[in-house]
Amino acid sequence: MATRKVDKRKGDKRSLPSQPGGAGAVSRRNFVAATAAAGIGLGTLSSAAFAQDGPADSGQPVSTGGTPLPESQLVETYEGPAAGAVLAQLRAAGVRTIFHTNTSGFVPFWDAVHAAGDVQVINVTHEGHAVAAAQGYTMAGAGKNLGFFFGSDAGIPNSLSNMYCAWKDRVPLLVTYGGGSLRGQGADGFEAWDDQLGPTKPFTMWTGYLLTQQMSDVVRRAINFAYGPPSGPVTLLWGEAQASQQVRAPIYQIDLAHARRRFCAEPALIQQAARWLVEAQNPVFVVGPEITEDGAEAEIRALAEKLSVPVTETKDVMYASFPNDHPLFLGQLAALRRPRKADLLVSFGESLRRNNPLHPVPTVHISHDPDILGRAYASDLVVASDVRLAIRDLSDAVDGLLTRDRMARIRSTRLAEISAYSTQLKQSREMVLRSRFDESPVSWERLGYELEQALDKDAVIVPELGSQYWKVLAQLTFGGDNKLKFGRTVGSALGWGVGAAFGVSLALPSRQVVSLQGDGGFMFGQAEALWSISRYQAPMLIVILNNHSYNDSRVRNMSNGGLGGGLLHAERKDYNGHLGNPDVDFPKIAEAYSLRGEKVRAAAELGPALQRSIRSMREGKAVVLDVDIASDGQPMSDPTWYQHYSIADIGRQQRGGA
């Protein structure tokens, strides 16, 4: 980026400040005004702070004749090694925890970390788990955490799977890699390829290069891109920067809680939505992740209760955005009975990426993400807004359209009907739980029941399970003062959950954090995440729901085979499902990482095993609980068949039996 010295004689506001180390000191007022004129925003600084009138370098505060304008909020001008400017900018954004996987090219950065004395480095033994941990840490931070990772450029491929998950989940992350200099372009050098960030581009909001003289600017810009909206990962390369070179860099104060730009809806759109809501006989709400991301849990509950509107969610629900024990909560949107009585659907921050199960019911789509609106589904009314602000505006608009009496009548009539309905659904679930209560292997419902009995009321669940996982979750109480939930990642790439749960535990050290894994999902390389869990004494519970099978895939293969009359289906075989032989000893894996491991084979063992696990968690030691779980789903194939093949046998044959 070309720069010119500020011409103080002409009060030139169009130029950037002189290069660090150039002639003359750079005043705060001059710098702020010049960057504002060049169109560079400074985070939380208000526009009033940019002096557009008067000489840029007068050194005097600009006065409107009334209240003096606020001083610039530039924290400091950093002087030192370039790598230190990165850390200084991160610390100015409140970042005190950073994630790392084995590297050897970051000495100046390590020096800065050591000198700062207040930054915790979390080492994770695989880049993929580090990115998942960074994501969990960010998601559980209520807007105050930003996952920052640094590792080797050779680790870019390792990080991609969980970067895809973070991108799909719209979670802001800063993922940086050493190496990647343009000096080696075209040479196919050591650990190098051209356009090294190229593979990350589909899963990022921006990719960039840290530059020696712009380290803090690039970081600030990266944070800007990461939060958007839309939000998501940003990847940066360190390779172009001379990390040990002495620099002067501006460090900007960044309030992460307000880093995502918030905006209100057009009033006319809110009024239209309010009119439809008031006129609808049977409106339905669907809540998505933006409820939690925008801190709108209390607001959506109040609005739903105002008119007793039933609330649903979709399969892509990542957070506990609405209390699932509330009488207005009806579970899955797609499960609503037919004939459909709903005559209006309002989506609050739900993407509708799986389409709209209530089509062609008139639909209002409210989201803070312009990328999502109207993308998967053409809604009738599209409202771009911070969801919390939209709910407040909508609620006020409804108040303006209805008298209190009428509102009370609507509320009480609907509440009676919906409560009766949701009570019956709960009775059905209770009936199912009781019918399978003592089954062994343990039923999914029993596992959920025992977790609900044993865990703290405000425990945190991080699930990475297949299609049966609703059976567990339906037995747990989420939302409000009850449990939190993070996951399952919408990306659905297995190998996310344990690392993400570790990141959640980092963010919420005083709460019980429980990772729910299938045996198949755990074996997507997740054992390595136990190293960090052990090293940093994360007092977690990892429950492995073990049906010795990739059961979801087996069921889908058999169902599709049944529909198409496939050969394998007719023979009741599938090549993919059975994971036994070997039957993996997960408790031993836990012990290999100095954690506690325990096996549960029967329903009666589960309660006591959970109590022992919780005692261990309170003592600071994580537990892996391996639970033999029922093989639910279509029993169309032999669950233990697999295609036998022995390399050893073949080798013996080839050696003539020796």
């Binding site: 004939p339 019956q424 659904l425 059905s428 049966q468 609703w470 169902s559 049944g562």
Partner: protein, 197 residues
Amino acid sequence: MDGRRRGTRMFPVVAGCLVVWVCACYQQTATAASAAAAAQSSNDELIQKGREAVGQVCLGCHRNIVPMLQAEGRSGRSADRWRTTMYSMISRGAHIMPDEIDALVAHLANSYGPSGASAPAGAANLSGPAAALPDAAGKSILEQSCAMCHDLGTAINKTAAEEWETVVDRMVTYGASVPPADKEELIRYLDELTQAP
């Protein structure tokens, strides 16, 4: 009194007992038949209730419900297995009420169980007048899209030809699965059915 007079006096008593016994047997048989008929009627009502419930609770998540059920039927699922499936669906979030479970099991076991393993789509709905529906383009769409919720034998008699498009559109808003590409063909078929002598 000699033996012949004693026998003559006993005959009415014995005859009367015989009549009473025959009447009692008849009444018992009639009662049993009546009970069986009542049970059959009750079972038919249960199956009918279950058939309606399938359309109400399954279509939301299972657009391919008909071929799915047919595939299940080929394996001849017992009532116990169907109950297990219903419990699984409840746990996974299906809106099945407690008093619907038995009805669903009864219908599914009847239509897609060991005895109904070869039943075509919505077989329970294609008896009587519905069995005489002509084979023409649109019939399979009718069976797949409508038979889940409606007794086709009576439903098709209710609507004038010119109203079918409105009806089909309304059914779609209720949640009927009618692919847009099939809608015209379905309406044409219904129109022809209604206008047929």
